[in-house]
């Protein structure tokens, strides 16, 4: 069953290979800018915050980088499967026994290696630039430029809602997250019971709420906007209902809201524990 043929002579094979490479380069050259310009920018979370915009840029770069890879596989498989198809019902004929090609292996390893190192370096730069809106734990390493003057807001997760506290407003509690526009915000995320995850979808912010842990995330807001808040970590029975709206409002509206909310909060203030970065209730036992 082994065909002893040392079939197609090398030049033909070289031409086939050259054709694939050229077709790939042409297709990539056309597709990559199109993807980068038209697909990249519409990938969420959008430009509502500086951090969200950073993520959009990240996604834009990565989709652009992924395009040549997809093109390579599309061109390669389209050409290969069409050209090297065995005829139906024909005798089994063996192909040429190509077992290795040093050059292709080396080029492949170097190219994938460079891409990976670039992506890791790029991602690290984007992360350290402003924190990218992610939870960083109690000792943050990535800060937006203006973080010293940031507005501190605490997010407390519990089964099954988020509560927000504003230490600068006397530790006031609110059931809705309201943020002033064009402000640096320092979110302190913690939990009273199980692990939750605070996800402000349009803001590009996500930070897990762990009991007894102060998880810090930074976000720089822009224009006024209504956004969704969801719990993104399975937290029990009503996890699916742990969502709410939040608002970014103009600076003056924020002052108005704060005054009013503080007034509403005053009667219950004495029942609420003193503001702190973590709250540890008694150890949880069974709930059901």
């Amino acid at each position: 069953m082994t065909a002893e043929t040392n079939t197609p002579p090398a030049p033909a094979a070289d031409n086939q290979g050259r054709f694939v490479v050229i077709a790939w380069l042409v297709l990539s050259a056309v597709a990559t800018p199109l993807v980068a310009i038209f697909l990249g920018p519409i990938i969420p979370p959008g430009n509502a915050t500086v951090q969200g915009q950073g993520q959009v840029f990240d996604n834009q770069v990565m989709t652009a980088l992924a395009t040549p890879i997809v093109c390579l596989l599309v061109v390669y498989f389209a050409y290969t499967l069409a050209t090297f198809r065995a005829r139906r019902g024909a005798e089994l004929v063996d192909g040429p026994p190509l077992r290795e090609h040093h050059g292709i292996q080396v080029v492949w390893i170097i190219v994938t290696g460079i891409m990976v190192l670039f992506l890791a370096g790029f991602g690290t730069y984007e992360l350290l630039k402003d924190g990218a809106g992610g939870g960083q734990g109690p000792n943050a390493i990535a800060f937006p430029p203006n973080h010293k003057n940031a507005l501190e807001v605490q997010v407390i997760g519990q089964q099954w809602e988020f509560t927000y506290r504003y230490p600068s407003l006397g530790g006031m509690e609110s059931s809705q997250l309201v943020l002033p526009a064009n402000t640096d915000v320092e979110l302190h995320v913690t939990s009273l019971d199980v692990i939750h995850s605070f996800w402000a979808v349009e803001l590009g912010v996500k930070a897990d709420a762990n009991p007894g842990v102060d998880n810090v995330a930074y976000v720089e807001t822009r224009d006024p906007l209504t956004f969704h808040v969801r719990c993104a970590e399975l937290c029990g029975l009503w996890h699916g209902y742990m969502f709410n709206n939040g608002r970014i409002v103009s600076q003056s509206d924020f002052q108005t809201w704060a005054t009013q909310a503080q007034k509403q909060y005053a009667p219950i203030a004495k029942y609420v524990p003193k503001y702190s970065h973590t709250y540890l209730p008694d150890p949880q036992r069974r709930a059901g």
Partner: protein, 628 residues
């Protein structure tokens, strides 16, 4: 041979003895013994439960008793006891009995492989049915069909069963069946342990399914700790299930490694091993090293729930991160336990269907082992936004992205193997080609998740859910079916219906993509995993995914019918070598005889010598005869 006629035993004799029936009976007995024994345990922490008629300890003892009874009934204690009483050692049990060997402790690796195929298949279809119910609930943005707790239990059962049972999805049926054949051995290194891994997995499956009698569990397949501590007793089923799966996985890995290292036939050097066997090696290493971490983590979870320890209770000095860390130290190698055998199958099948040697043998081995090694250094990417070790995130970003280099080896080796070949579009080949497409999407979406800034939005959303379904369903399940269509004729001796198989492939490929591709968008647009509600604006995409999922389910039913039709009704005998493969298992008759080889083969090359001067693959004469 003597001519004395052997009297056929009466039918009832077949049902008496150490077999599955006895196992189930003793399992029930053991369960109740443990249950009532558990009620005898008293103490201050038990009083806490007050008026309920169970405590967690009795649930654990019941299931441990049940599993021990089941295994004893199958006869796993007979041999140790016989040895203690001075009987001589033996390696074989029930290998020559009829159909009954499939329902008992049998040491024939081919029987175990077939047991695994049906057993794993059963749970695969149950878990798939759970997925259908999940998608049914998600047809509407509001929660409508199931109570919230039931929905979470369905999500948990689907995930846990797929991630637990399907770890053995390829190693169980195909490695057990094929590795001894491919390395020219007559058995596995530890034949009884081989059978034990299978029956333990089935016992585990039963433990998990019966969680519905204890209120289910709300944690999904990850079982995160502070939530697990407060959950129903159904949580105990999850813990025991995964612990049993962990033990089974670990033993399976040890057995595979021992077999491959010590039992290769003469001439089968490391560079002549079929690449599928290398896939098994790289997976088995992970099995052996990862599963104990899981068992330890679950042991602490069980202690938290019964003995009121506080390993995971932050307020009492424990840490909720401890469980997350331990779980993902196991959990990330675990996903490669699922994916790596698939790599092996793709690379094993491509040479056969393109009539060319495997291109870059050493590079593909390096790829498999590289993934296996690197998978240990990436687990904290599951904790990017958890608030733990913020300064380690760049490292985990780098290590996660590094994995795409060895994964790329598999791609380039597969791609170059079909270059200038004579490609035949058989059903197994179609599944392998689909693997490239699915795994490309899965891999590229993985790059988005590994990039920490981008991960902030996609973490824990439907995007990551779509990503791992592309890698696991697109990577594991597609190659699982490739393996079924490729090797089932060899295992059972019957052909599968090709027309139905092709329809199955095309519907599965189309509806798989149509189910999971929209989920990337859904995740980006703000739908977290495991929710029962979602923004009404996402209903169209969700409905699209649901309807596609139902059609995907229909495609699976077609496969099931093909299997039943071909193996039970049509029964068209398969040739010994339907694919023209040079691999050794196809040089044997179909189905393979009990002792595999009359004489142990001698290898002089790898099985990929297509287009090369014929070198004799096996030389039956002159080989050492009596290797058992």
């Amino acid at each position: 041979m003597s001519s004395i006629a052997v009297a056929t035993p009466p039918v009832w004799r077949r049902f008496v003895g150490f077999n599955m029936l006895t196992g189930i009976v003793l399992g029930v007995v053991g369960w109740y013994a443990g249950w009532y024994g558990g009620h005898g345990v008293v103490g201050p922490s038990i009083d806490y439960f007050g008026d309920v008629d169970y405590n967690e300890i009795s649930v654990y003892l019941a299931y441990i008793g049940g599993v021990i009874g089941f295994l004893a009934g199958l006869g796993f204690l007979n041999y140790p006891i016989a040895r203690l009483r001075g009987y001589p050692p033996s390696l074989r049990e029930k290998e020559t009995e009829g159909i009954g060997r499939y329902f008992s402790l049998c040491t024939d690796h081919k029987v175990v492989g077939i047991q695994y195929l049906w057993g794993v298949g059963l749970f695969f279809f149950i878990a798939g049915l759970n997925a259908m119910l999940i998608r049914f609930e998600l047809l509407r943005p509001n929660h409508q069909v199931f109570p919230a707790g039931t929905y979470l239990t369905l999500v948990g059962l689907h995930g846990t069963m797929m991630m637990g049972i399907m770890t053995s999805g390829i190693l169980g049926p195909f490695a057990n069946y094929l590795v001894p054949l491919m390395i020219g051995a007559r058995r596995m290194a530890f034949p009884r342990i081989e059978s034990l891994t299978f029956w333990m997995l089935m016992a585990a499956g039963a433990v998990l399914e019966t969680t519905i009698f204890f209120g289910g569990f709300p944690t999904g397949w990850t079982g995160y700790a502070p939530l697990a501590n407060q959950a129903n007793p159904g949580m105990d089923n999850y813990i025991l299930f995964f612990a049993l799966v962990g033990i089974s996985m670990c033993l399976l890995g040890v057995n595979m490694l021992a077999t491959i290292v010590t039992m290769r036939a003469p001439g089968l050097t490391w560079t002549r091993l079929p690449i599928f066997v290398w896939g098994v090696i790289s997976t088995a290493i992970l099995n052996v090293l990862a599963a104990p971490v899981l068992v330890a983590a679950l042991g602490m979870a069980a202690l938290d729930r019964t003995a009121q320890t506080n390993f995971y209770v932050t307020a009492a000095g424990g840490s909720s991160y401890l469980y997350q860390n331990l779980f993902w130290v196991f959990g990330h190698p675990e996903v490669y336990i699922l994916a790596l055998p698939g790599f092996g199958i793709v690379l094993e099948l491509l040479p056969v269907f393109s009539r060319k040697p495997l291109w870059g043998y050493r590079l593909s081995v390096a790829g498999l082992l590289g993934v296996s090694l690197l998978s240990w250094f990436v687990w904290q990417h599951h904790l990017f936004v958890s608030g733990m070790n913020g300064d380690l995130r760049p490292f985990y970003m780098l290590s996660t992205e590094l994995i795409s280099i060895p994964t790329g080896f598999t791609f380039i080796c597969g791609m170059m193997t079909i270059w200038r070949g004579h490609i035949r579009f058989t059903v197994p080949m179609l599944f392998c080609l689909a693997w490239f497409f699915n795994f490309l999407i899965g891999g590229l979406s993985g790059v988005f998740l590994s990039d920490t800034p981008s991960d902030v939005t996609t973490h824990g959303s439907f995007f990551s859910m779509a990503h791992f379904h592309y890698t696991i369903m697109g990577g594991l399940v597609f190659t699982f079916f490739a393996a079924i269509y490729y090797w089932v004729p060899k295992m059972f001796g019957y052909k599968l219906h090709e027309g139905m198989a092709k329809i199955h492939f095309w519907t599965m490929f189309v509806f798989f993509n149509s189910t999971f591709a929209p989920l990337f968008a859904i995740g980006f647009l703000g739908q977290p995993r495991r929710v029962v509600t979602y923004p009404s604006g996402l209903q169209f995409l969700n409905d699209w995914a649901s309807v596609s999922a139902f059609l995907l389910g229909c495609s699976m039913l077609l496969f099931l019918w093909n299997l039943v039709y071909s193996l039970v009704f049509a029964k068209v005998p398969a040739e010994a070598n339907p694919w023209g493969s040079k691999s050794i298992e196809f040089q044997l008759p179909s189905p393979v005889p009990v002792h595999n080889f009359d004489r142990i083969p001698v290898f002089s090359s790898d099985p990929y010598g297509y287009g090369e001067p014929a070198r004799p693959l096996t030389i039956p004469a002159g080989a050492p005869a009596g290797r058992d």
